[in-house]
């Protein structure tokens, strides 16, 4: 079920991406909070609570009054494209490499000629990807917490309140990696796997938006995995944050795990085409 050599190789394969994201997510919270601090809280509240129509509140997922706090503004960093897109790119990149990526490069043939089961190959890669996602979420959490504790808003937000939000980012990465690995396990071309997952991601965004904005089509929101990605709701009341996180990450990690299991079964039984 687990092969240490594959685990080490996968870490080598993802090293560049992980290091790039570590650099990005270490610097981003500091930059984000410093830039946010340039706009005084009173001016931000004025714009948010008076100038923006209240109907638009549905898009944010939380009342504007919650957003217009120091904690709320820090939470927006977790829904910034720098975080959401990077988390999605990490998931799709690593997941798509699981089978179709290696099939396309032709390197899977030599690995599977060795006495190692396909399940062990798939599981070891998946564990390395999930471990990397955990490291990245921890880096993001640590960077955000240190920026909050030591930056211009020092003492205004409890850094511990950012932990559930970072855990939600971890859930998103695992979910996207698992779903990508599932598609990859059934596919032979990585570009097609990435295309399918990009389509799925765009669909998820649209379904979430439609679900939020339309009363009659509210059910569309349930079609989107991003409905379970609401870090801005997880920096509010600490008592409810962990309960909400359990629900959100339950969906994201559950989907990711189920996709990994399904992908593993497909990979273990399918024909593997010769390198092209």
């Amino acid at each position: 079920m687990f092969d240490a050599a594959i685990w080490r190789k996968t870490w080598g394969d993802q090293r560049g991406l992980v290091l790039a994201l570590v650099a990005l997510w270490t610097g981003f919270p500091w930059l984000y909070i410093w830039l946010s601090a340039q706009i005084p809280m009173s001016a931000f509240q004025d714009v948010l609570l008076r100038a923006i129509p209240q109907d638009w509140q549905r898009l944010s997922g939380v009342p504007f009054s919650e957003v217009a706090t120091h904690a709320g503004r820090v939470a927006l960093a977790f829904v910034d494209p720098v975080v959401v897109l990077a988390a999605t790119v990490f998931g799709i990149t690593r997941g798509s490499d699981a089978v179709s990526g290696q099939l396309e490069r032709g390197t899977l043939e030599m690995i599977l000629a060795q006495p190692v089961s396909r399940t062990a190959v798939f599981v070891s890669q998946a564990l390395a990807t999930v471990a990397a996602a955990a490291v990245l979420a921890a880096v993001l959490c640590g960077a955000a917490a240190s920026a909050v504790a030591l930056g211009p808003w020092a003492g205004k937000v409890d850094p511990v309140r950012l932990v559930p939000a970072a855990a939600n980012v971890f859930g998103l990465m695992v979910c996207m990696a698992g779903l990508s690995a599932l598609v990859s396990a059934a596919d032979s071309y990585r570009w097609r796997t990435i295309g399918i997952m990009c389509g799925f991601y765009v669909f998820s965004i649209l379904a979430k938006l439609v679900g939020r904005l339309s009363g009659t089509l509210g059910w569309c929101g349930y079609l989107s995995v991003l409905n379970a990605y609401e870090p801005q709701r997880l920096v509010g009341d600490p008592a409810t944050a962990w309960r909400l996180l359990a629900a959100y990450d339950g969906v994201l990690l559950g989907l990711g795990l189920a996709a990994y299991v399904a992908g593993c079964r497909i990979f273990a039984r399918r024909d593997l085409p010769a390198p092209l």
Partner: protein
């Protein structure tokens, strides 16, 4: 038998890649696989490794069923794919380390020795290696494994003549050590030089099996007829076969010893008699150039 297939068949939508292939490979022999591109050789090898599943039939390696016991089969097999692709970010040493960790039976020191014999610079990154160097690296991975069965799919492709000779020497050493080798190649001369037996595959079907030792005893006699001649006499039919007769020329092949035929040939009205070894090329051409071959017929 170390390898046995029974009516092994692989069909894809619209075409049959391998059709009811039954063969047996003995322990300690070098078994050649010959056939043009697309004949089904690689399909057969990939079926043995469990990389693809058969549509029908069965295959066993070292007593293990190739689909349901694929892990055990691969523990007993070292496989060089036709186009071995390795990890571009690793260098040669890291590649050898990786595969020796993946297969405990792979001797790391032996891999380094094979690489040295093939004159391979293992410090170079795979991405910066030439095609031939990558082939040598893959060969070092495979030939370092002391598995009972080694499967080599076109092992000498892209290699220089020195490395090619070294690979053939390594293959013979594997046989000398008691291991079995399945050797798929398009280079007839090296198959004839190295293998004990050969199977010829055409259009997904095994059409001929040939013992190389018997082949070495076979000769082709080509001559121009200077007079009337009927057929090979009954008492010599076991020794000679009329292969072709056209425009005053006859081609006769001797199956075993040439000696019984010589006396008879001396009595025939023949001019321009030419006697030469049949060679693997002659056998191969019989199945891949001649139109007389019938599907479903297995000879040998």
């Amino acid at each position: 038998m170390l390898v046995e297939t029974t009516d092994l068949t692989k069909r894809y939508r619209g075409f049959t890649a391998l059709d009811r292939c039954s063969l047996a490979v003995r322990e300690g022999e070098i078994f050649g696989l010959l056939g043009p591109n697309g004949a089904g050789k690689t399909t057969l090898l990939r079926l043995l490794l469990g990389l693809i599943r058969p549509t029908a039939g069965a295959a066993r390696v070292a007593g293990f069923e190739c689909t349901s016991e694929s892990l055990a089969v691969r523990a007993h097999t070292a496989y060089l794919p036709g186009e071995a692709r390795l990890f571009r970010r690793m260098n040669g040493t890291q590649t050898l380390d990786f595969f020796s960790r993946l297969r405990p039976a792979c001797r790391r020191d032996r891999a380094a020795e094979v690489a040295r014999r093939l004159d391979l610079d293992c410090s170079r990154q795979v991405a910066r290696m030439s095609t031939g160097m990558r082939q040598k690296l893959a060969l070092a991975v495979v030939l370092a494994t002391e598995a009972p069965l080694t499967i080599l799919d076109e092992p000498t492709a892209n290699l220089d003549p020195t490395a090619r000779a070294e690979v053939l020497a390594l293959v013979r050493e594997a046989r000398a050590a008691g291991r079995t080798v399945i050797f798929s190649s398009h280079v007839l001369s090296e198959v004839e030089e190295t293998c004990d037996r050969v199977a010829i595959v055409r259009s997904g079907r095994l059409v001929h099996e040939q013992c190389i030792a018997a082949l070495r005893r076979s000769h082709r006699i080509t001559a121009r007829l200077a007079g009337a001649w009927d057929a090979v006499p009954a008492h010599l039919e076991a020794h000679a076969t009329l292969v072709a007769r056209e425009e005053g020329r006859v081609v006769i092949e001797s199956g075993e010893s040439l000696a019984p035929l010589l006396g008879w040939l001396a009595t025939l009205p023949l001019d321009e008699v030419q006697i030469e070894p049949v060679g693997l090329g002659g056998v191969y051409d019989r199945f891949h150039k001649a139109s007389g071959w019938q599907a479903g017929e297995v000879t040998g």
